[in-house]
């Protein structure tokens, strides 16, 4: 009996291997970010020289960044919802919106890093600088990779390469995108809002 007739995939688990692999990757990426967050929390109040977090953090600005990334998750899930209904035009609009919101978040991070640099915080200034830049920098790199994936999918969809039957591809990209959002939810609370 064919795959279409049975409604399941002929894998040892009966579920799609690409989706399984994505969830495995996300589970392993939890450890990646968990380690950097633990390092930040251990070292942030051990700097011998300033500037310190309380001298630099601009909570209203970072709150807007957090809001932008959160809303990009909404637009991403709307893109998936659109293609699952066969609405390719909707997919294109929401994919582009998600990439644009992601780019806005990265622009905000670049501005924040520049401000911190001018305030005297470099990668090697103190332990706060080292752990902060490494943690948020790796998160920014993840977001940047996500934007490139979204723009690639947007271009492919413009060329007619994504139809309703390809919704799993959008779902996988969405899983990655939502993951970088939940990592920022944790970073925003533990690093920015909760200070010693």
């Amino acid at each position: 009996m064919s795959h279409a007739a049975t409604g399941h995939l002929e894998t040892s688990t009966g579920i799609d291997n690409k989706k399984l692999l994505m969830w495995l990757f996300l589970a392993s990426d939890c450890l990646f970010f968990g380690s950097f967050i633990a390092a930040y929390l251990l070292y942030r109040d051990r700097s011998l020289v300033g500037p310190y977090p309380e001298d630099l953090f601009d909570i209203p600005f970072t709150s807007v960044s957090a809001f932008v990334l959160l809303m990009s998750s909404v637009s991403m899930v709307l893109a998936l919802s659109a293609i699952q209904r066969g609405n390719v035009r909707g997919l294109q609009i929401w994919l582009f919106a998600t990439a644009a919101l992601g780019a806005l978040f990265i622009a905000g991070q670049a501005y924040e890093f520049t401000e911190f640099y001018h305030e005297g915080l470099r990668l090697d200034t103190n332990l706060f600088g080292t752990t902060f830049y490494v943690l948020t920098g790796f998160h920014g790199a993840h977001v940047t990779i996500g934007i490139l994936i979204l723009l690639s999918l947007f271009i492919v969809s413009l060329r007619g390469g994504i139809q309703q039957k390809d919704s799993l591809t959008i779902e996988l990209a969405g899983l990655y995108w939502h993951f970088v959002d939940i990592v920022w939810i944790v970073i925003f609370t533990l690093i920015y809002l909760i200070q010693p």
Binding site: E10, S12, W23, A27, G34, S63, L70, L78, T189, L193
Partner: protein, 116 residues
């Protein structure tokens, strides 16, 4: 023989992908996703508001962590569809989170006070 075939021969009701397909039909629509997005935005606004309120640090930390967990769970359950998808994905992700939390606590407990 695949696990799917094995389960089918045993007469078990739903193969994993069938479960997925069945639940996929119950995925939320655009309206529900938007409502969840608004709730997430509201929680973020509450978090930022709490930051400026003069209150006990311990209470502030507890409330902020609780709100953060609520946001995290909403994104994972609804936007990432763990609430509707195959349980194996939940097992994998929660396993990864549990391992991360264990390493996190072990690192904090082992190294706090011993670092220069």
């Amino acid at each position: 023989m695949t696990l799917a075939d094995y389960r089918s021969k045993r007469g078990e009701p739903a193969l994993p992908e069938e479960e997925h397909g069945e639940h996929a039909e119950h995925h939320p629509g655009a309206l529900e996703y938007t409502q969840i997005g608004l709730i997430l935005a509201f929680i973020t606004a509450v978090e930022v508001g709490l930051y400026y309120i003069d209150m006990s640090h311990t209470l502030l930390v507890a409330v902020l962590i609780a709100l953060s967990i609520a946001k995290f769970s909403m994104v994972v359950l609804w936007f990432m569809h763990l609430k509707f998808d195959n349980r194996l994905f939940s097992v994998l992700f929660v396993g990864g989170l549990a391992l991360t939390f264990a390493v996190f606590i072990a690192a904090i407990a082992a190294l706090r006070g011993k670092l220069v």
